[in-house]
């Protein structure tokens, strides 16, 4: 017997709609735009999506527990600056340094959120200011180009393996790792439990504070990985490099079907969401839509996606 369950229809919508939308968009573009359906173009789409996806994965872990991380674009930019400045001097050691910077930013937000009880929205907004400010200071507010000598160190991201851009393979690794972590580790399980019922998770002895801190730290590290991707592809770092990525990243997570209220969703859905964002963006470019107008559409899409999927039985009052 099927027991009626609150929020059931919204849950169904979240589950299937994004994949259908993605399929419809791809078909639409393939039919209307000659050349879109070719393997070469699809590889370009995937390569373009990788950075946004990695950014979105970290954000997914935070949104799943009902929080938000608004610092990811600043952290990614900071990381690109760290890479651009250190690669010529340190070589490969520049990358762990960039990831470490992301980890520190995540921990900064985490401590403010958990220990000082500042809402994640504010804690990460503040962290965004700090990370962005540091990036501006150390770079002298200029883009830092990586010279010829340093570019060899970027090949693990910017190069390709057997004709497939390495960045796609790296994105796939993040996908697999993310899905495994989410499904098979206590970190993934506790995230779902905290998002769906924090009080019950707390009363079951789950170390809720520790988990929140860890989620923000993971988000920081993945944001800096996204920053490394950006730096490698552009062969430069800039304190504003990731500035247009915050809105698309949130859109990717939510359009994919992860609920902003937490407890429902996952990394796999964020892949779909990120692909939707990418395909829409490329489609608009094909159609000749102004690049600035694209952000307008993402804003609108984001609102519609959240309005459609928010679980009103769980959250009667929205502030």
């Amino acid at each position: 017997m099927r027991v009626p369950f609150a929020g059931f229809s919204a849950a169904r919508l979240r589950e299937f709609a994004p994949a259908l939308v993605l399929a419809a968009l791809v078909v639409l573009l393939a039919v209307s735009t000659p050349g879109f359906g070719t393997p070469e173009t699809l590889l370009v789409v995937l390569a373009d999506t990788a950075t946004l996806f990695v950014l979105g994965v970290g954000l997914t872990f935070v949104i799943l527990i009902g929080g938000i991380d608004l610092s990811i674009q600043a952290v990614a930019s900071l990381s690109s600056v760290v890479v651009a400045m250190l690669v010529p001097r340190l070589g490969y050691a520049a990358f762990p340094a960039a990831l470490g910077a992301g980890l520190l930013c995540g921990l900064f937000s985490g401590i403010a959120h958990v220990k000082l009880h500042v809402p994640s929205f504010i804690a990460t907004l503040a962290a965004s200011g700090v990370a962005g400010g540091i990036a501006l200071l150390v770079s002298g507010a200029r883009a830092v180009t990586i010279g010829e000598a340093g570019r060899a160190y970027l090949q693990w991201v910017a190069g390709s393996v057997l004709g497939i851009p390495a960045i796609i393979l790296l994105g796939a690794m993040v996908l697999v790792a993310g899905m495994l972590v989410q499904r098979y580790t206590p970190f993934g399980r506790y995230g779902l439990a905290i998002g769906a019922g924090e009080a019950a998770a707390l009363a079951s002895g789950v170390r809720v504070d520790r988990h929140k801190m860890a989620a923000l730290a993971v988000s920081g590290v993945l944001a800096s990985l996204a920053g490394i991707f950006l730096a490698a592809r552009m062969a430069s770092g800039s304190p504003m490099l990731a500035n247009q990525l915050m809105l698309p990243a949130v859109a990717a997570v939510l359009v994919g079907g992860t609920a902003i209220t937490g407890g429902v969703g996952g990394v796999g859905r964020t892949l779909i969401g990120a692909l939707i964002v990418s395909v829409v963006r490329i489609g608009m470019t094909f159609l000749g839509v102004n690049i600035f107008a694209q952000q307008i559409l993402f804003g609108a899409v984001l609102i519609v996606a959240v309005a459609l999927t928010i679980d009103r039985s769980k959250i009667p009052i929205v502030k």
Binding site: Y184, R189, A196, L202, A203, V264
Partner: protein
């Protein structure tokens, strides 16, 4: 003047009120008594328009009427003084009194504060409260806020023709003696303007204030009697409704506990909540804590699970002094908590039965850092069988289970976590009689297996029936300790004497 005809209300198939007929006459104070869960609050909420009856009707002066919300009830002259206060703490007393009626005090959309305060002062005088209406409500004492609530309910008079009906839901439970007397004096003074319905756990007060008393039991009216002819013992017998049936609580299964002490409190206290609590919980013992709201028993229970760390004295688990700063610390000490708010604190209703069962001890199904789903399923299915949990499968979300089965999932969670001490916080709240019995049977079985229980219960009957030992609290102090061996259990009046 106000009548209910065959009023019934059920929540999700569980009846809370059955065919209730009551009548409130002009200038009358009607008392309403019954155990927790007897339906008093539900009846009041229906009269106040907060809830709608499932069937039956309301009549005013013989004319049937329907109210959909408190505003409509107010328009008919029915006001309620809420048990959980309905005033907003962050605005002034005057603003609270006229909340939703600001339009009466505006000109060109701007508030005329002088007129608002003058009107507020008039209302406050009627209940004998001499305070500045401009004060922030949060600054008032609880008793003063209660009087403001009463004034707010009485202010209906200006808007409604005919007599008022004021519903008082447990207005005295947190008031001091002098404040209660003042409240009663006001009620007496106001009888020429209004009728009252008075709900209280304190039977002597109900008898002192009321003209007539209705006794509710399991959602039905079991007696109506003039207060002048009734006494406390008689009311009590009517409320409980039967000679205490020892077998309902499976007292013959109550085995003596072992000598070994598993949890010990010495001079335990939390500043502002309770102080100097001493007890020893033995293996296989049920220790029940009795007390009214504000007695400190709820805080004591939450301290033992790390929600409210103790600030004085000492808590020992298996002989070792511990400090439980978070629930996780308590769980690590082998303590489990079955909360009264099953759906918010007990379970993650969106997660499956299996996921809830392993939530407090994910290690039990962990290989390295990997959750073994097969093992999790086997473990959950085993508990479903052993505890007779009725569910379509261990993959079903817990929200789809009935209350009694949800409660068993919570127990299964703690048994999976190998808890040795269980805190049962109102474990049968909202359960029907059959589900309650199953919980009692489980408690007996757990004790036989060597678990120990700290319990606060909804009714004294349950407290006495299940307990080996009863701690009675009042105003933050332990006022009495009773042994409750089967065959020599204390009676409710013994406990009440130390509770109020």
């Amino acid at each position: 003047m106000l009548q209910t005809i065959q009023l019934s209300k059920s929540f999700g198939g569980l009846p809370a009120l059955r065919d209730v007929d009551i009548e409130i006459r002009p200038h009358e104070v009607v008392g309403l008594v019954g155990e927790n869960g007897a339906g008093k609050s539900t009846l009041m909420k229906i009269l106040a328009g907060v809830q709608q009856p499932t069937s039956g009707s309301l009549r005013r002066d013989g004319v049937p009427f329907v109210v959909h919300n408190p505003r409509e009830a107010a328009a008919l002259g029915i006001g309620m003084v809420f048990q959980e206060q309905s005033l907003l703490p962050n605005i002034s007393v005057a603003e609270n009194l006229f909340l939703g009626r600001e339009a009466e005090f505006t000109r060109f959309g701007l508030m005329n504060w002088r007129r608002l305060h003058a009107a507020a002062r008039r209302e406050l005088q009627r209940v004998g409260l001499d305070i500045d209406p401009g004060r922030r409500t949060a600054e008032l004492s609880f008793a003063a806020r209660q009087m403001v609530e009463l004034a707010k309910a009485l202010s209906l008079e200006e808007r409604v023709r005919g007599e008022l009906v004021i519903l008082l839901d447990e207005p005295t439970s947190v008031l001091e003696r002098a404040e209660i007397e003042r409240l009663f004096a006001r009620v007496q003074d106001l009888r020429n303007r209004a009728s009252f319905v008075f709900v209280s756990h304190r039977l002597d007060e109900v008898l002192a204030l009321s003209d007539r008393v209705y006794v509710l039991k399991d959602g039905s009216v079991v007696a109506t009697l003039p207060a002048a002819e009734a006494n406390v013992t008689q009311l009590h017998r009517l409320m409980v409704g039967r000679a205490l049936n020892a077998e309902y609580y499976m007292e013959s299964d109550q085995a003596p506990y072992a000598p070994e002490v598993v949890l010990q409190a010495r001079g335990l206290g939390v500043v502002g909540a309770y102080r100097d609590v001493n007890f020893e919980l033995h293996r296989g013992e049920v220790l029940a804590i009795a007390g009214v709201i504000g007695s400190g028993r709820e805080e004591l229970v939450r301290s033992i699970f790390g929600f409210l760390p103790h600030t004085e004295g000492e808590l020992r688990v298996n002989g070792l002094a511990v400090r439980l700063a978070t629930p996780a610390d308590a769980v690590a000490q082998g303590i489990g908590y079955v909360p009264r708010e099953r759906r918010t604190e007990g379970l993650v209703t969106l997660l499956s039965v299996a996921q809830n069962i392993t939530l407090a001890n994910l290690d039990s199904v962990l290989h390295g850092v990997r959750i073994d789903y097969g093992q999790e399923r086997t473990l959950a299915e085993d508990w479903v069988k052993r505890l007779h949990i009725r569910t379509a499968g261990v993959d079903m979300p817990c929200g789809s289970l009935s209350g009694g089965n949800q409660q068993k999932v919570v127990l299964a969670k703690w048994l999976t976590a190998r808890s040795r001490i269980l805190i049962l916080d109102h474990p049968t709240r909202g359960l029907d009689v059959g589900a309650k019995e199953e919980v009692y049977r489980l408690v007996r079985a757990l004790c036989r297996d060597g678990l120990s229980v700290v319990m606060t219960a909804d009714t004294l009957e349950e407290t006495i029936g299940l307990a080996h030992t009863i701690l009675v609290m009042r105003d933050g102090n332990v006022t009495a300790v009773f042994d409750a061996v089967p065959g020599a259990k204390p009676v409710q009046l013994d406990l009440i004497e130390h509770m109020v």
